[in-house]
């Protein structure tokens, strides 16, 4: 590794661990997306080595990071919508590669002239895990302040999501914010669940999944654990794997079962299948924030390079480590600069502000 490690436990160390863990989980899980645990076991035994590059999870997280570096705590949903219009919609001249239903639906809504929150309600995929997959930067930026992290994730989510999709983003952002303090997995997932109403699908699914982990999961095999989780939180009569309540439940439970260690959490999540790149990315972000950069297996970190911009051309060439440093520097007040400065289009703004509350929750 050519970049020196930041001091252990420092904001830069945890931020790098978070986003490297996310990128590694994204890349590890990608080939297992939409597969069953049984099919994954048949093909790989245990999927533990990264085969290819990352996907939308990493690229949209970099996009979210750029929003924070530009607007800071003053970020509004209209800022987010304007960034979508200028940096995503305006650059589309054909198919939107690597996008899910919620992103495509949001683009259609924005092209119709709709804005937040209706742009996130117009398409029926408000509950997708597309916000949860990009919510980690809000937790880094609001380290130690889960309420603020959830608030910022919701401001982002109102453009593209509604209902449970917004809640999934709130839960992940709040959990990362607490993981950034070095708290253990139980405390982290409880913080995530405090960011959503108890009477929500996200809370019910996560509680069921966590009960399976805590009910002696150390005695169960990987296969038994995967089957129990699937029977508990996977919707049987729906053909896709992109439901935020399910993804957050699988990611949180894999992270807890992995004891907060990056490799254990990410491998557990990826081998559960379903939206494996997203669930492994979330589990990796949580574990990486707690363990720091050194907690991310070096054989994985070596495979994480600048993103290709396959899903979001606007972030092509950016590296999660640079975004992590920039986000961490807003916490420590270190001087601005570095290679990301030219890419995010403006100075970082760390001022507290903004007043949009969790009005779309539930």
């Amino acid at each position: 590794m050519t970049v020196p490690l930041a001091p252990a436990g420092s904001p830069r160390d945890r931020a790098r661990g978070c986003l490297l863990g996310l990128a590694a989980g994204d890349a590890l899980g990608a080939p297992a997306e939409n597969m069953t645990p049984e099919a994954i076991a048949a093909r790989w035994g245990v999927l533990a080595e990264i085969e290819g590059g990352g996907t939308d999870d990493t690229e949209y997280s970099l996009f979210a990071a750029s929003l924070l570096l530009r607007h800071g705590h003053a970020l509004t949903s209209e800022d987010v919508a304007e960034a979508w219009r200028a940096e995503i919609v305006a650059r589309l001249d054909g198919p939107m590669r690597g996008a899910g239903f919620s992103e495509l639906g949001t683009v259609r809504a924005l092209r119709r002239g709709l804005g937040p929150p209706l742009s996130g309600r117009w398409h029926p995929h408000g509950w997708s895990d597309g916000l949860a997959m990009r919510a980690a930067p809000y937790g880094i930026f609001a380290a130690g302040d889960p309420d603020e992290a959830a608030r910022l994730a919701e401001i982002d989510g109102r453009v593209s999501h509604s209902g449970e999709g917004v809640l999934g983003g709130r839960a992940v952002a709040a959990a990362v914010a607490v993981a950034m303090t070095g708290a253990g997995p139980d405390e982290v997932v409880e913080a995530g669940l405090r960011a959503v109403p108890g009477d929500s699908w996200t809370a019910r699914a996560a509680r069921k999944a966590l009960a399976i982990v805590r009910d002696g999961s150390e005695r169960t095999s990987r296969e038994e654990f995967a089957r129990a989780l699937h029977d508990s939180v996977v919707v049987k009569h729906y053909p896709w794997t992109d439901l935020a309540p399910e993804a957050v439940a699988l990611a949180f439970s894999a992270y807890v079962r992995g004891g907060g260690e990056v490799e254990a959490a990410v491998v557990t999540a990826a081998n559960l299948g379903r939206d494996a790149d997203t669930t492994a990315a979330i589990a990796g972000a949580l574990a990486g924030a707690g363990a720091g950069e050194a907690g991310v297996p070096e054989r994985w970190a070596r495979r994480v390079g600048p993103v290709a911009g396959r899903c979001l051309p606007v972030v092509a060439g950016r590296h999660v480590r640079d975004a992590a440093d920039r986000l961490a520097d807003t916490l420590t007040g270190r001087p601005e600069g570095g290679p990301v400065a030219a890419l995010v289009g403006g100075p970082a703004d760390g001022r507290p502000g903004g007043s949009e509350g969790p009005t779309d929750a539930g």
């Binding site: 309600r121 117009w122 398409h123 029926p124 019910r204 009569h237 729906y238 896709w240 309540p245």
Partner: protein, 394 residues
């Protein structure tokens, strides 16, 4: 012209209730997915061959397949007739005075059903001990129009559809049911179409997808004047085609409201001699056909938009005004979703509901409804401010 004029004798309430049911079944039969649903009555191997022929068509670049077919099987399932929507309406009418979670709970024990993703997910939730409203909320397709279809029965009976809707749906899915029950409830009690549609739209908050879409759809259809002319504009204004789940309430309910409104406003009121040389009944029957046909032209929503359009239009024209051959074709249910309904006459189910049954344990008829006329305010007096129909339950 406004559909509120005329002054001729409107059809009686029972005829309009029968019209709502038969209208839904005719629209259900008119949409292309009906044949696909009805093929569920055939042997599984015929559908397996259908899937294999799909692969053949892809490989050999063939546009049109010789399917569905009924080789060595009865051909009746593939004849023109109603399918899923009419059956779920009949089931709803037959259980309407029962606790909704209990009625659905009985279905949750069964393995011989065919149902939408929202309904199956709700049944799975009920089986796992999760009751309403969570059963409809923790549900990937909470936004579909399964409850809106069932709400035709609640509107006809003058009952609030929300407790039923919340078993399988949430958000826009429940609002779709409220809108349909509001419109059908007003129509069977004698309201003019425009008044019923406006009341239904008013029940939908503007900052919801269904509320935004309903206002857009009604405005687009009124701009184009008649249903068929409005089809391309409705397709452009409402259907994004990103995720083709054809029964999204925010698409089908607005289209039904808009097309029923456009058709009946162009035709005038039932019973009025609005076209030279034709009876009013024939004119409104033709308007019914125009509305349902236009909905069937919107291929991506042809599963249920024609059915909902037919329910609204039929509730307005009454049963006797509907085209006779279509009325006959729409009566016998196929049993493609609820096998026990095979051969059931939908008209019998509607008559039972209109006469206050089955197992009527609810309140007596509200005198206001019996006095309602097309001109009077009485038609709306059963509508609560929030737009749901809750008549006579105080």
């Amino acid at each position: 012209m406004s559909s509120g004029g005329g002054g001729a004798t409107p059809p009686p309430e029972e005829d309009r209730i029968l019209g709502a049911f038969a209208g839904l079944a005719i629209g259900d039969a008119a949409g292309w997915p009906a044949a696909r649903h009805r093929s569920l009555r055939l042997a599984p191997w015929s559908r397996r061959l259908h899937r294999e022929l799909d692969a053949f068509a892809e490989e050999r670049q063939v546009t049109t397949l010789p399917v569905p077919f009924a080789l060595n099987q009865p051909v009746e399932p593939l004849a023109l007739g109603p399918s899923d929507d009419a059956e779920w309406l009949a089931w709803t009418a037959s259980t309407i005075h029962e606790n909704r979670a209990e009625a659905f709970g009985r279905l949750a024990q069964r393995e011989d059903l065919r149902a939408r993703i929202s309904v199956w997910s709700a049944l799975d939730n009920l089986a796992a001990g999760l009751g309403p409203p969570a059963s409809g909320h923790d549900n990937p397709h909470f936004f579909d129009d399964a409850a809106a279809v069932r709400a035709v029965a609640f509107g006809a009976a003058g009952m609030d559809p929300v407790a039923d809707a919340e078993v399988t749906n949430s958000g826009d899915g429940v609002l779709g049911a409220v809108a349909v029950a509001t419109a059908v409830g007003a129509l069977v009690r004698g309201a003019p179409m425009r008044q019923a549609v406006d009341a239904a739209v008013a029940a939908l908050p503007e900052d919801t997808a269904i509320g935004h879409a309903a206002r857009t759809a009604v405005a687009v259809a009124r701009e184009h004047g008649d249903p068929f002319s409005a089809v391309p504009a409705l397709d452009a204004a409402l259907l994004d085609h990103v995720y083709s789940y054809g029964v999204t309430a925010a698409e089908t309910v607005p289209i039904a409201l808009a097309l029923a409104d456009a058709a009946m406003s162009a035709a005038g009121s039932p019973g009025s001699a609005s076209a030279p040389g034709s009876t009013g009944s024939a004119a409104s029957g033709a308007a019914f056909g125009a509305a349902v046909s236009a909905a069937a032209c919107l291929a991506s929503v042809a599963d249920s938009a024609p059915a909902l359009t037919g329910a609204l239009a039929g509730a307005y024209t009454g049963y006797e005004a509907l085209p006779r051959a279509w009325r006959e074709a729409a009566r016998p249910l196929a049993g493609c979703c609820l096998p026990e309904l095979a051969g059931t006459d939908l008209l019998d189910v509607a008559r039972t509901l209109a006469s206050g049954g089955p197992k009527r344990s609810g309140p007596a008829q509200d005198a206001t409804a019996q006095d309602a006329t097309r001109q009077g305010d009485g038609a709306q007096s059963g509508l609560r401010q929030n737009g749901s129909t809750q008549r006579g339950t105080a």
